[in-house]
Amino acid sequence: MALIIAIGIATGCVYALVAVGYSLIYRTTAVVNFAQGSYVMVGGFSTYWFFSVARLPYPVAVLLGVLSATATGLVLWTFVVLPLWRRRSPAYVVLLETIIFGAIVSTTALIVLGPMPQTLPPWFPGFALDFQGNHIDGQYIVVAAATVLIMAAFSAILRFTTLGRAMRACAASRDTSQLLGVSPERVGAIAFAVTAMLGGFGGAMITPAQFTSADAGLAYGVFGFVAAVLGGFGSLPGALLGGLLLGLVNAVVGRYVSSSYQTVISFAILLALLAVRPQGLIGSDWEESH
């Protein structure tokens, strides 16, 4: 049981990082970026490449892996979302394009890195917890701790820095904030870069505990989205809450039912939420038709 909880919390943290990505991008650019999950895959998989293929030192490989994810986010912004944004394309066209971009990223990963799932060495070799007869991999604890730190730092940045205020202004209104000297395009670029970095870091962290493969992005994207909606789309504390809850649900389902039902149940939760309580657990604002 303790193991399930550990797995649940750790994967839940990664979902939370993805969910924060969704919410932040949505709040600053009004875009729902369904390639969010790809960053997790890129983070993990490219770290693997830098470490196992290019034979770079592990910390360097992790750094480069996170940078690769960040670069992916910037490419998506610059060449896909920004042009559509400028053109005032309807939201669902942008969404469609992000889905296609995600497919391109995973296809590229498949070509470059092959179809085999890969893993990485733990960050602190030998670090493990023996709790009530359960052997809990220390990496899960690393993930949880790191996520909490990142979330705290992130909240602080948003609340206390100029950049954070600029991001919140853009979230409120793109055109008005432009009049006030905030550049929505620059804020958008930063939002994409930062969320990609978060996702990539999550991927680099969780891969030692689980495997990663070229098609992992879609699953994280989906679970991250469900987590975001569960907690309240657009809400950052909601993202963390939703992520943890969903992580635990998935861990339980994976253990007692079957892993193939994890996606089914997640989707069922999502649909139920959107039908009945779209604002999620914490969230407040949510557009609905009259």
Partner: protein, 330 residues
């Protein structure tokens, strides 16, 4: 190009396509006939999406869900319960209709990308479900030996007869689309797509009309799904994966949302194009997706699209790169 000229071109393109469809069984190879059958059935699904998205402006990724209801419905009702294939087809369509009503009423309150996400989740969830629910659907192995459709002694179990059946069904669905599009129902849909509040102020019950579009789309997609399974005598989760979800949407975008010729054109292009890419092997998907990404980026209205909801393409360039145009409207 004036709308009248565009309509005239579209008419001749449709006439040309009809001529090709009639001639193909006589002059075309077996592969061409097969591909054209697949084209017809996918075109039917795209027509269903055209009603929901092209006319009523509701962003739905969920046509594959209704295809799956039709496909698995037909397969299960015939193999497990021994129903007549026609009855199974009709019953599955009714099931799809019911599902559309149950799902549609709460979901269609959502707007824009929320509806898109919900229906995307529905589509992926359907795929996951049919993969996971092995006792019912036989999981990834699928269900085979689905009995063919029959009229009296005549069975639709060979390439040519199914070709005719598929195209009759496809043209039938295009006929339904045309009748609806030119009626007050079609106008109500277009009105709510472009000005929901105005439509309401003119007495149009927007939610009811959205659900109507969704339900009709579901029924047509279900029939297409049933027919496809009857065609191959097989159903499996791969028929309804994310690739198909994207494919259907892209067929509509390429052909042009809201148009008559669009679904068939888009379906034909996306069915035949991969064969030109076959030589690229592992790069096939990459080139395909890359091309589509660029296409939607630069040409969202597609070939015959009536829906113009993006600004002019120049806006995509940074300011210093845009040409100075004299005062003409785009």
């Amino acid at each position: 190009m004036s709308p009248r000229t565009r309509a005239r071109i579209e008419f001749w393109v449709l006439a040309l396509m009809l001529a090709c469809v009639i001639l193909a069984p006589f002059v075309g190879s077996r592969l061409v006939v097969y591909d054209l059958t697949v084209t017809a059935l996918y075109a039917m699904v795209v027509v269903s999406l055209n009603i929901v998205l092209g006319l009523a402006g509701q962003v739905s990724f969920a046509q594959t869900t209704f295809m799956a209801i039709g496909g698995y419905g037909s397969a299960l009702l015939t193999t497990a319960l021994g129903l007549d294939p026609w009855a199974a087809l009709a019953l599955s369509a009714l099931l799809a209709l019911a599902a559309a009503l149950v799902i549609g009423v709460p979901l269609l309150r959502l707007r824009g990308h929320y509806l898109a996400m919900a229906t995307f989740a529905l589509a992926l969830g359907t795929n996951s479900f049919v993969t996971a629910a092995t006792p019912l659907t036989n999981g990834s192995i699928g269900i085979s030996s689905v009995p063919p459709l029959q009229i009296g002694d005549f069975a639709f179990d060979d390439a040519r007869s199914f070709y005719v059946l598929s195209w009759v069904a496809c043209i039938g669905s295009m006929g339904i689309f045309a009748l609806l599009a030119h009626s007050h129902i079609g106008r109500a849909w277009r009105a709510l797509a472009t000005g929901q509040e105005i439509a309401q102020s003119l007495g149009i019950d927007v939610t009811a009309y959205k659900v109507l579009a969704f339900a009709i789309g579901a029924a047509i997609a279900s029939v297409a799904g049933s027919l496809y399974v009857e065609f191959t005598s097989f159903v499996g989760p791969d028929l309804y994966d994310i690739g198909i979800v994207l494919n259907v949407l892209l067929m509509l975008f390429i052909g042009g949302r809201g148009s008559h010729a669009g679904p068939v054109l888009g379906a034909a292009i996306l069915t035949f194009a991969p064969q030109f890419l076959a030589g690229l092997e592992q790069y096939q998907n990459l080139v395909f997706f890359g091309f589509l990404l660029l296409l939607i980026l630069t040409w969202p209205s597609g070939l015959f699209g009536r829906v113009r909801d993006s600004g002019p393409i120049e806006l995509m360039l940074p300011i210093w790169l845009r040409r100075r145009r004299s005062a003409e409207s785009p």
